[in-house]
Structures are given as structure tokens and as C-alpha cells.
Symmetry: C2
């Protein structure tokens, strides 16, 4: 006996009733494999033709319609929506959902149900989840190890709130000049360069033209961006984040791996 998963009857009227009562209850996940077509009308209008897909309705009301390829759902609707309703029409089941907050409607016409499941997914209260190696960790590292950027750099401040935007790091170099540092884990983009340019301009206007340096730290720099930075009197500092957070390709002994600490030792 399985208290987590229940197969629903594929008889349409029974199925519709069961689905709607599960939705009212709002504590279980619905998983349906079916041939379907669908309309989404909201921030964009999107239509997908008839095909086999998986429909997932989560406990919080999130709706996902996944096709047979790709990471993203073909269509979806975020949580915090109005009531979801299933109705029977001829030989189809139609899912209707409306999200008042964003004025978005979602209609799925299920023309052939292959499988319908109710999933009572338990989640332990003390369930842990962790992420290591995001931009915050990168900035932390640089604040602890400023010489990774440049010898003699002294950190003054981080996360300075400007009128428009945040400066990642403010420092002073070995010659006493103020340095504004913008940190990106990924390759530098034009937008990153503009952002740094804007911050530095703000300081230069207030404190004098030549007294402020601007450094963009990034994984890598396209040539155009390196040139652009130089033309603006800004600097590129290439620090591949992988050197700071190296990837372990494959654990040799999975038995020993119990936590991230074991995994990356």
C-alpha cells in the first residue's frame, strides 16, 4: 500500500470530480500525462498545439506544462493564483485557471489522458538546502582576499547603496586612490560595463575627475568590452570563479559522500 501516490481513474467524470476535490483541499500535487493543447493569455499570448505533455499542479498552485524537451515548461503559471477548475466537455477535460494579480488566464484542453496521479509529497521540516558559490560568496572571498584583485588594495566598504543601484566593493589602492569594484561571476557583458561606468561617473562628478578608479571583476572579458572599459578609463580584472570554487568532476567513492563537505574536500 502506497500512501504517497494514488492513480486516479481515467473515467472522465470521476477524474474531474477527484481532481477538483484535490484542488479544493490544496495539499497534494497533481501529475497528469496527457495529449493536450493549451492557451495562455497574460503578459504574453501563447498557444501550443496538440501534443503529449506532462501537467503538474503543485501544492502552492504553481502550474507547469512540460513538453518532451527542454528545461523550461512550454507553458506555466506562477503560484498565488485564483482557484483552478477542471471541467468536462465532450471527450475532453479542460483546466481553467485565472491569476488576478497579473490578469493571466490559462486554459489547457486535455484530449487524451494517459495517466493521472495524486502525489502526497512529504517534506521534512528540518530539510536542509544550501547553495555555495554564488556572487555573494565571490564578493565575500574578494573582501577577505583583496590581493586577488590587486596587490595593496584595502577594502573600505561593501554593498554601498547608491541612489540608483548598489556598489559591490569600495576600496583604496596602494596609492590612496578610491577604487569602485563591480563583481560578476560570469563573463562581462556590455550592461556590466555600463553599470560600472555609471557608478564611477557618479563618484567622479562629486569627487574630481582623476581620483576614482573603476574595476570590473569578471570570469572573462570579450575584446570589445575590454576596449570599451579602457576607453572609459576603467579597468578589467579577470578572475575565473572556478579557481575559487573549483568543481570536483566525479567523486571516486560515492559511499563516502554524505554532504557537501565530503563532496568537495
Amino acid at each position: 500500500m502506497n500512501d504517497h501516490i494514488k492513480d486516479l481513474p481515467l473515467n472522465l467524470s470521476d477524474l474531474v470530480n477527484e481532481l477538483n476535490s484535490i484542488l479544493l483541499e490544496g495539499r497534494k500535487m497533481i501529475i497528469i500525462a496527457a495529449k493536450c493543447s493549451s492557451l495562455f493569455d497574460g503578459r504574453i499570448k501563447s498557444e501550443v498545439g496538440e501534443s503529449d505533455r506532462i501537467l503538474i499542479i503543485k501544492k502552492d498552485g504553481s502550474i507547469l506544462l512540460h513538453g518532451s524537451e527542454g528545461t523550461k515548461p512550454e507553458q506555466w503559471q506562477k503560484k498565488k493564483l485564483g482557484p483552478i477548475k477542471f471541467i468536462q466537455r465532450n471527450n475532453n477535460i479542460i483546466m481553467e485557471s485565472y491569476r488576478p494579480r497579473t490578469d493571466e488566464s490559462f486554459f489547457i484542453t486535455l484530449s487524451k489522458i494517459h495517466k493521472a496521479l495524486i502525489y502526497n509529497a512529504h517534506s521534512s521540516l528540518e530539510e536542509k538546502s544550501s547553495v555555495v558559490g554564488d556572487e555573494k560568496d565571490f564578493v565575500d572571498f574578494l573582501v577577505q582576499n583583496p590581493k586577488a584583485i590587486e596587490e595593496g588594495l584595502v577594502i573600505l566598504e561593501r554593498e554601498r547603496n547608491l541612489d540608483l543601484g548598489f556598489i559591490d566593493i569600495i576600496a583604496r589602492d596602494k596609492n590612496g586612490l578610491l577604487v569602485i569594484v563591480e563583481v560578476k561571476k560570469q563573463n562581462a557583458t556590455p550592461a556590466d560595463a555600463y553599470q560600472l561606468e555609471r557608478y564611477v561617473k557618479d563618484y567622479r562628478e562629486r569627487m574630481g575627475k582623476e581620483s576614482i578608479r573603476g574595476i570590473l571583476v569578471a570570469n572573462n572579458f570579450p575584446v570589445k568590452i575590454k576596449q570599451y572599459l579602457k576607453a572609459q578609463g576603467l579597468e578589467a580584472c579577470k578572475i575565473p570563479w572556478q579557481k575559487i570554487f573549483p568543481t570536483v568532476k566525479r567523486p571516486i567513492d560515492l559511499n563516502r559522500v554524505q554532504s557537501l563537505e565530503d563532496f568537495f574536500e
Copy 2:
């Protein structure tokens, strides 16, 4: 008899064998509801503790690990990865995957399998999918109806490739001044303002300070961004795209709705 969906045995060794042969075949989707914990090591290191989730492996190799809430998977791996392997270890099944292109590893430890399905999802070749109302449509509309931006505007060009970025629209105003227009469907962000500023600066440097106007078209403008644009000699033009692509809240008669045209007439 259902030729789309097959329940797999929950006996671990049989299950592992079946899963691996399905993966070798690479033409069907795998759906597993299980209690699991998981490690991802790549662009970031992410760990999730033991909990009930759904694991989906698509035909193209995309791996999704969904929890019971939210639109995004808790962990995932994009397609174009190396071979995926299931192995049995004690009373667990472990999924192992490595993506050489990005040097990313993904390990899922399934400690209790509630349900395992093979989904042979057919997709019709003539399957249609359409999107209406994206930024391209917005620009199209503005090119056809430039007075939505300003009376007397004449469109000269669209999608002009600058060395660093693309200008959406170049136009001439009723006084003969060149106008650079950047179009955003969403609310204006600082990055949007910097982008327009950069384009206009490029033109002003080449063609004279006061002869070039810059207009940012967006759904809405935070006060600070409006002020910033003004300070840079740029202009904000608020055009809520919903007025151009209005949302139909609910179709009165779903029977009549067969396509987007019916839906939004």
C-alpha cells in the same frame, strides 16, 4: 492497454536495469516520484536534503528535480550532457550525470521510490506553437504607429547594429532631430536607462551634442529612473503594452475557442 505510459517495477535491481536501458535508448521520458536528496556541482554547488520530489528526465537529456512548490525545479541540469547512469547502492538508487560542456555533475540519491513511469510522449510533426505580444510585436506596432510615441515622428530605421548593442528604432521628430528609441515591454530598469544613455552618447559624440534625442519606451517608470533619464537629457515615454495587446480575461464560450484568433476576437 496503454502504449504511452508504463509503470516500472519498484524492485530496485529491476528498476535500475529498466531505467538504464531506457536511457540508452534515449527516446522516452522518465518520471519518478521519490524521496531523495541531491547534489549539484557546477556553476554553483547546491545540496538539497531528503524530501519527496519528482524527477523528470526528458528525451533530450534535460533533468528536472521538482519539489512540491514553486515554478522552478529545486535542481536541474540542461540538455547536451554526457550519459546518465542509475546505480543501485544498498537500499538506494543513485542517479549520476555529468555535463562535460560546463563541467557540471549531478547526483541524486533516491531513498524511497513511490512511483516510476516511462512516458512515450508523441509529438505531432505539424504541432503548432505561437507567441503573440513579445517585444518584437511591440516594436512592430510602434513602427506602424509612431504617433503612439510622439506626434510627427517619422521612422527611419529599426534594429540598427551598433558596435556595442542594437538600437530598436531610429526616427526623426517633427523638428528634424534624430531620435533614438529603446523599447521595453516591462517596467524600466536602471540597466535600460544606461543602455539608452550609451547609444545616445555614441551618436552625440559623433554628431553633435544637442542634435540627438533619446526616448525610453516602457510599461512604467520608477521615479528615480525618470529623474535619471531627465538628468541625462533623455526622455521617458510610458506606453503600457496591455493597451496594445489587451488581455481577454475569460472566454464566455470555451466551445468556440479553437485558436488564438477566436480567443481574442
